[in-house]
Amino acid sequence: MGVVIDQNKCIGCGSCMRICPGNLIRTNAEGKAYLKKERDCWSCTSCMKECPVKAIALVLSPEMGGRGAKFVISKKEKKICWTAYRDQEVIREIITDPEESNKY
């Protein structure tokens, strides 16, 4: 399952298609991106980091115990803001800074 692309938000720029390490994303007749091989997503989130319109979310599938929450990311200068939603509601927000190292 991995990432889910919202075609209503997609502007068809092709960034996600180019960056996917598995060549899994393609565009449909309207030029909108879709995950051609859903089973094959690695959840690396490279596409989410490229998408200029936050059209891609990371979802944990039921097979792995997912209960419907999703991550959407937005860039704040160099920082990445990870927002977790359940339904439409924000349940958590975490900001990661590339200049801040892992402490473990």
């Binding site: 991995g2 960056i19 996917c20 060549n23 990661t96 402490k103």
Partner: protein
Amino acid sequence: MERIIIESDVLIIGGGTAGCYAAITLGERTDLKVAVVEKADIRRSGCLAAGVNALNAYITKGHQPIDYVRYAAKDAEGIVREDLLLDICERLNHVTEDLESRGLTILKDENGEYVSRGWRNLKINGENIKPILAKEVRCQKNVSVYEHVNVTDLRYESDQVSGAYGFGIGDGIFYEFRAKAVLIATGGAAGMYRPNNPEKDPHQMWYCPFNTGAGYSMGILAGAEMTTFEMRFIALRCKDTIAPTGTIAQGIGAKQINAADEVYEEKYGLTTSERLWGTVSENLAGRGPCYLKTRGIDSAHEEDLYKAYLNMAPLQTLKWIDSEKNPSRYDVEIEGTEPYVTGGHTGSGYWIDRERATTLKGLFAAGDVAGGAPQKYVTGALAEGEIAAEGILRYLKDHGSVEKKSTALSRQAKEKKEEYETYLGQNGIFSAEQLEIRMQKLMDEYAGGIKTSYQYSEAGLKVAEEGIDDLLKEWKQISVTDIDELLAVYELRDRLVVSKVLIHHLRERKETRWHSFQENADHREKDTQYECYINSVYTGEGVRMLRRKLVKAGEE
């Protein structure tokens, strides 16, 4: 198919950690024309697409490179090439500092010294490690990068390698690469065995699922000698998400416990394979599930863990949030993954010399695809990329003669192009995915997968080999509807070829050298007569096995 011929001095197949660093080395030190060919986009391709948050191979103050060699040798029960490891270890710190100067964030103390995790790990923010490497590659004037091109086979005559063949994944163009020397840096192999989440999420795995063993496969088919495939790597990971455990185990010192809250790790030993084997054994004895004991960590530590995982395996942070089972209140369940073949963690890969030359003239190997040097990890792959680049430079001094330029495809190229064209539009009974599932089932059940708690027997291997041989025949009649399916077909071929060779290696080691990694149910103990490398060469008719004597550090 349209066609294009690319000529260069050096061809690098694979733009991951080792390939990028070799390209940077050749770019900065020479004027040679270098071509990097990559299946995806070098900014996010291969193992480090999502990032990494530690450098697991570094020589901290008070230690010497030989200490790391001894550690890796002990962890691998002696089956390592100490000469190759020592070359790598002598460069670990230099490549680390070099990467920092190019923009990698490494944790430092108030005196500006690196903060280590144990005596050989550094803490970093490596979320952007691939974009950093990619940027450095792209600013080399003499390096051209060909992305979204899948290489399937080496270009060779007798035992001289002189390039490679592939196809453009987006545009369907046939590529013939011609070069005086070729560096193979494609990574190792995932996807031969049935994975942990086989139904809907087969690619939620430890190793990069897009590393399909292409580098091994094209070398095997060209007759290159391979070593130590039987030392499989099986990772101990967080349940379901298959996210790393090292950050929890080493970072916050969490112990492995069973369902009765007993610490079991000392009972089985502390090598990488024994930690996994302990967990498998506790489960088999009915004392599972097993966990990393995180209960009781404070909220600041928990927040740091969330961030650490976002920088390498974001699904684990999502799982904590989604399930509302925070690590401060719930221990983190662990499980073993399916087996992989990868020379970055174990000794599996091309049999190489200290120049990183393979047994095929003109072909060099670095990173996960190169054998003999387990626990090289990210910094080891960088070091090996640099060593291979230097080896290639020395080779080119004596072998730099230019092939007669020709704009016509060679005979071998024509055959390869026809092969692709035959598959494209072929209407078979089965898809690549269907045969892949069959392969994974065979390997899981008969060649020591999760199903048998990683144990295998000779009788089982025979069933696995017959099944894999059947698939290698059926593979040629697969349905191929478009270029994406053509890619899937060759990825399947690569995994089948690696599986076949792996089965031979598993059979040849009639002992149990590494619990779980190579658990031979017919021979449960270690046997001194197997203190040697098990190597193989594919001859076209079958796999010929050979043994080689151990090489110690300082010996030639």
